[in-house]
Amino acid sequence: MPKVEIRGLHKYFGENEVLKGIDCDIETGEVVCVIGPSGSGKSTFLRCINCLEEPTSGTIMVDGNIMDAEAKNIDTLREDVGMVFQQFNLFPHLSVIKNITIAPVLRKKMDKAEAERVGLELLARVGLADKANAMPNSLSGGQKQRVAIARALAMRPGLMLFDEPTSALDPEMVGEVLDVMRQLAEEGMTMVVVTHEMGFARQVASRVLFIDGGLIAEEGTPEQVFGNPQNPRTQTFLNQVLEA
């Protein structure tokens, strides 16, 4: 059974059809990078997977469970789907360690001390062991994003979604975040990454989706999509971003 099964996904915002029928399976252990022009629907596609956006029609299943924002078990299903946002969205009123422990303590009824032990381990993994008691607003963008990754990992998700995780960062901080993501991919995490970092996609992705105009216009291995794109729109897009 695939980790994620997406069938006939349509999404309208008012009159505007953003996703026009997407079918896609994501297998456990895959690292899928989603690329495409802005406004193509790639972020909406990602946000539908954990039901932050409700599909207008179509189904999304994670581990065979239908994701439905109105369903009683949606909170439990979301526990298995970590998400990292472009704007980090750390909770500014909570210290770094509390940001990480709040969900395990509230949702998994984890003992506070145990949650903190796990949280400190995760912080060490993202290279921020010394920031446990810092407040989010005292961190740099790159540090915030690494904390956000640790926060998502604290729920031990089977799937991680990244929504342009480096787009809001100063250039010198992109590397530290991508390094953490690369390490996560090497450890076998199933990941869906919406990104403009073509180097990262080429290096780390097991599969690349090119979304354009609300449809998957092309997909394949990084070698196929970057080396020998078949769709003229993929060629145009890649020429634009790679030349820039």
């Binding site: 954990n50 932050l52 909170d75 439990t76 979301r78 526990e79 789907v81 970590g82 998400m83 946002f85 704007q87 969205n89 750390l90 909770f91 500014p92 009123h93 709040i102 969900a103 509230l106 949702r107 407040m135 607003n137 005292s138 956000a148 926060r151 998502a152 729920m155």
Partner: protein, 218 residues
């Protein structure tokens, strides 16, 4: 009568008036805070009837003067229903309804000012809607609201002076009574003004300390 004589003679009365002003303010503001929270929750409810009630409430409070609201409660409603309530009670009802309306808008604004990404991040971690509201949204909304809430408290404390017109012997009324006896309008209004000023000033200092304590800025 020298200024010092005037001061020493009228001070006990003025302090009684001040005490009543503070009581009226405190009771009204406590009720107003509860009312404001409930009304703001109604205003953000999914139920259109509750939202409509909140909108009507806020519109009436905003659209009519406090003085008219006070007269209506003390004379209008009591006359209509043929009941009697104390001037203090009428003052509390008028002030708490009035401040409650403004506070409900302040609370609603504060909650809606929290970045929507905060809710998304919390829900993506599996937190329920309820947990998200109370653990993530409200604590941030309170910080956003503090300056406007304190501002409303200042306004309501001063608005107690309007309640003097229904005969409650709060600070302003006491001032008038002293002037009626001594004809020392200039000095008495300065003294009364200073007494209001000191109370408000102490409150704003306290508010600034609290604000700094809970600030999220690095």
């Amino acid at each position: 009568m020298s200024f010092v004589d005037l001061l020493s003679e009228s001070m006990p009365l003025l302090l009684d008036g001040l005490a009543l002003t503070l009581q009226l303010s405190a009771v009204s503001l406590i009720i107003a805070m509860v009312l404001g929270i409930l009304a703001s929750l109604m205003g953000m409810s999914k139920n259109p009837v509750l939202r409509a009630i909140n909108r009507a409430y806020v519109a009436i409070i905003r659209g009519t003067p406090l003085l008219v609201q006070g007269f209506f409660i003390y004379f209008g409603i009591t006359g209509m229903l043929n009941i009697r309530i104390s001037a203090f009670m009428a003052g509390v009802i008028a002030l708490s309804l009035n401040a409650g309306g403004y506070l409900s808008e302040i609370f609603r604004g504060g909650i809606q000012a929290v970045d929507p990404g905060q809710r998304e991040a919390a829900r993506s971690l599996g937190l329920s809607a309820h947990q998200t509201t109370w653990r993530i949204i409200i604590p941030q909304a309170i910080r956003i609201c503090i300056p406007s809430v304190v501002n409303q408290w200042c306004i309501t404390i001063k608005d107690t002076s309007i309640i003097s017109v229904i005969g409650l012997a709060e600070l302003t009324k006491v001032g008038q009574q002293i002037i009626a006896r001594t004809y020392r309008s200039f000095e008495v209004w300065i003294i009364v003004g200073i007494m209001y000023f000191v109370i408000i000033y102490l409150l704003t200092i306290l508010a600034r300390v609290v604000e700094r304590k809970v600030s999220l800025d690095a």
